[in-house]
């Protein structure tokens, strides 16, 4: 007996909910970023589960692209954090709240 798809989808929903709840409540900018990566991975898990359910490759291709885009986003986001840190000396998202210096 194999694992039904609904279990994978519920696991994906749980991971996404944990990531979303954390990302909305943390103050450290880099931790928020980390939880965004967790949410993206929860979505990837759901897509691969659907690929297995239908027996096609579409889900796997989409995950491939999502991984590439997530890598690009992580690189630029971290570079922006470094730039923000240089000016404001903090990455607490409650304190980076003014557009001017």
């Amino acid at each position: 007996m194999s694992v039904p798809v609904s279990w994978y989808l519920m696991l994906s929903a749980a991971l996404f909910a944990i990531g979303a709840a954390g990302a909305l409540t943390r103050r450290n900018g880099i931790s928020i970023f980390l939880l965004i990566e967790l949410m993206l991975n929860a979505g990837n898990l759901a897509l691969i589960a659907y690929a297995r359910q239908w027996g096609t490759h579409t889900g796997q291709i989409i995950v491939f692209f999502v991984m590439a885009v997530a890598a690009a986003e992580a690189a630029i986001g971290l570079a922006l954090f470094i730039a923000v840190y240089r000016h404001r000396r903090t990455i607490d998202v409650n304190r980076i709240n003014l557009m001017r210096w």
């Binding site: 194999s2 694992v3 039904p4 798809v5 609904s6 279990w7 994978y8 519920m10 696991l11 929903a13 749980a14 991971l15 996404f16 909910a17 944990i18 990531g19 709840a21 954390g22 909305l24 409540t25 943390r26 103050r27 450290n28 880099i30 980390l34 939880l35 990566e37 967790l38 991975n41 990837n44 691969i48 589960a49 690929a51 297995r52 359910q53 239908w54 027996g55 490759h57 796997q60 291709i61 995950v63 491939f64 692209f65 991984m67 590439a68 885009v69 997530a70 890598a71 690009a72 992580a74 690189a75 630029i76 971290l78 570079a79 922006l80 954090f81 470094i82 840190y85 240089r86 607490d92």
Partner: protein, 190 residues
């Protein structure tokens, strides 16, 4: 057998994702995320895409999270007081998480018209990389090329964004040679 592997790695993924959310030290959060992503990669493999599973370990845990650790150590991010450190805060986070989870599961079971117990069998075509590559380079060729361009833009953008700011001299104006850092004694970021 498959149920045992699923159970172990699903519980591992859930447990370590809870540590990611709750722990105050960002380095511990990153290492817990490594465990989570590794478990998700194992789940990819038993779902019939070993290629995507290997890519997940290679890209996410091998590069992106190392970059996170690098930036955390560079900026010397210390432990922070976040919402999840007080009792009332933990309750709030748990309620928020439960609401989101409930909403997702409701949407899942309400709108799907295909019974969610059927799984296609693990065919050689699904698991092999040849099948994936064939689809990637015929149907999805345009997104593939665009993603390549996107990664180039990301590399350029990250290099520019993290560069030391160049302050123009008020008296002489900005010369092209000012945009290049030529002073060897100025210490770059380690």
């Amino acid at each position: 057998m498959e149920i045992a592997i699923f159970a172990i790695f699903a519980l591992l993924a859930l447990g370590s994702s809870l540590v990611v959310v709750m722990h105050r030290n960002p380095v511990y959060s990153t290492m817990s995320l490594v465990v989570t992503l590794f478990s998700v990669a194992v789940l990819f493999v038993i779902l019939g895409s070993p290629f995507i599973g290997a890519l997940q370990v290679l890209i996410y845990t091998g590069a992106i999270l190392v970059l996170f650790l690098f930036v955390i150590m560079l900026l010397n991010v210390t432990k922070e007081e976040n919402t999840a450190s007080t009792q009332k805060g933990q309750l709030g986070v748990a309620v928020l998480g439960a609401v989101i989870f409930g909403g997702l599961v409701l949407a899942l079971f309400w709108s799907s018209h295909v019974p969610l117990d059927q799984m296609a069998p693990l065919s050689e075509e699904l698991v092999s990389m040849k099948g994936l590559a064939r689809v990637l380079f015929t149907e999805y060729l345009l997104p593939f090329e665009i993603v390549g361009l996107l990664l180039l833009v990301a590399v350029i953008g990250a290099t520019v964004a993290a560069r030391r700011p160049v302050l123009p001299d008020a008296t002489s104006g900005l010369m092209p040679s000012d945009l290049v850092r030529t002073s060897p004694e100025e210490e770059p970021l380690p």
